[in-house]
């Protein structure tokens, strides 16, 4: 992408001087910001000074917001305005407690709902899929849902539909059994 400085931040598409693609480019001050060099931490000079949990020779600058350990500038991991130590950050990523570190999710509520809805038209498959749907919905009741659709509506709907199907099948089997008993009894 090659544009003259005057062609940037215009509200219309302007052809690129190299490839002639129509382009609209909006720049922001971060483009001119120098990339910050990582802090190495300052050495502790006095005996009564708070020092880093991981580096006892370095000054503590902030406590970890999760475990409370004192951290030097090198160990301080800032994320969305919160400060964590590297181990809490890693644990938060592994246990999915820090939402902003998650970059993918499996939607168990959608799986349960699909299992409850999709086979309705074939009817016979619901004998298998309804208990499966119930299992998935209940087993993953507390699993993280979609970040953008965080409600339990799908899980609840899946449980209701799957329960109706299970009750229907149980009723059919009870009816068939009672008919069988009546014929042979």
């Amino acid at each position: 992408m090659l544009l003259a400085a005057g062609a940037v931040n215009q509200a219309t598409l302007i052809p690129c001087t190299a490839c002639h693609s129509p382009l609209q480019i909006e720049t922001f001050p971060a483009l001119f910001r120098q990339s910050q060099r990582g802090e190495l931490g300052t050495a502790a000079l006095m005996d009564d000074e708070s020092t880093c949990f991981n580096h006892p020779a370095k000054q503590a600058v902030i406590p970890c917001q999760n475990c409370g350990r004192f951290l030097c500038a090198l160990c301080d991991c800032e994320l969305g305005g919160e400060h964590f130590c590297p181990s809490c950050l890693e644990a938060g990523r592994a246990t999915r407690k820090i939402k902003s570190l998650e970059n993918q999710r499996t939607l168990y509520d959608s799986i349960a709902l699909t299992l409850a809805i999709a086979p309705i038209f074939t009817l016979y498959f619901t004998l298998v899929t309804a208990p499966m749907s119930l299992y998935v919905a209940i087993r993953h009741w507390n699993a993280p849902r979609s970040i953008v659709h965080p409600t339990r509506a799908r899980s609840i709907l899946a449980i209701i539909l799957a329960s109706i199907q299970v009750v229907g099948w149980v009723s059919i089997f009870v009816l068939l059994y009672s008919l069988y008993q009546r014929r042979n009894g």
């Binding site: 992408m1 400085a5 005057g6 940037v8 931040n9 598409l13 693609s21 129509p22 382009l23 609209q24 480019i25 909006e26 720049t27 922001f28 001050p29 971060a30 483009l31 001119f32 910001r33 990339s35 060099r37 990582g38 190495l40 969305g80 902003s100 998650e102 970059n103 993918q104 999710r105 499996t106 939607l107 168990y108 959608s110 799986i111 699909t114 979609s146 970040i147 953008v148 965080p150």
Partner: protein
């Protein structure tokens, strides 16, 4: 009722059977979501990190128009032929096919010109597939611009032009030998 964490911005309407993409507005970032089957992948672009947003006009709408219009024409001919031959079943089938092709054709034109949107930060330059139409891209840009400026601080257009000019001239290769890069300098400092 609790306030929703994300506000919907745009989504791909004409890609229901493959990966679906959507863009959402968060408190301090733009979220791009790729939904594939029962999985969702997220990409966050924090307002404080966005360096530039580039919108590139594409010919996707025209291509889709040609494909859909050609198919529609073909099925319309089949419909006419089936009406002439009097096959009731074939008439219904071809009419349904006409509606199925005409609907995305109409939607494609209602949505307006197509584009690709790229968001650049210090570490990545990524396409946001949900913003595939010029209208939604500009609407989103107008929405996030003040938020980015709040996060990064506003810069006058004159100052921006001056800095852009300086940046371009700095990137032009000169006759001098290249200076040590930042990583090399950092390594030197750690060693010392």
């Amino acid at each position: 009722m609790a306030e929703r964490e994300y506000r919907p911005l745009a989504r791909n309407l004409l890609r229901p059977f493959v990966s679906r993409y959507s863009a959402w507005l968060g408190r301090d970032h733009l979220l791009s979501v790729e939904s594939k089957g029962f999985h969702e992948r997220y990409r966050r672009f924090y307002f404080r990190d966005i360096q530039l947003v580039a919108i590139r006009g594409t010919s996707r709408r025209a291509t889709l128009n040609w494909i859909l219009a050609g198919s529609l024409l073909l099925f319309l001919l089949l419909t006419i032929a089936s009406f002439r031959s009097g096959g009731r079943f074939l008439e219904v089938i071809t009419l349904i096919a006409d509606v199925f092709i005409a609907t995305p054709l109409v939607i494609n034109n209602i949505l307006g010109p197509s584009c690709d949107v790229y968001v650049r930060t210090a570490v990545q330059e990524v396409r946001v597939p949900a913003l595939g139409r010029l209208r939604s891209a500009r609407k989103t840009l107008n929405l996030i611009r003040p938020l980015i400026e709040t996060a990064q601080g506003a810069m006058t257009s004159i100052e921006m032009m001056g800095r852009l000019g300086a940046l371009q001239s700095a990137r032009t290769p000169g006759p001098q030998s290249p200076a040590k890069d930042t990583t090399e300098q950092q390594l030197d400092q750690i060693e010392s």
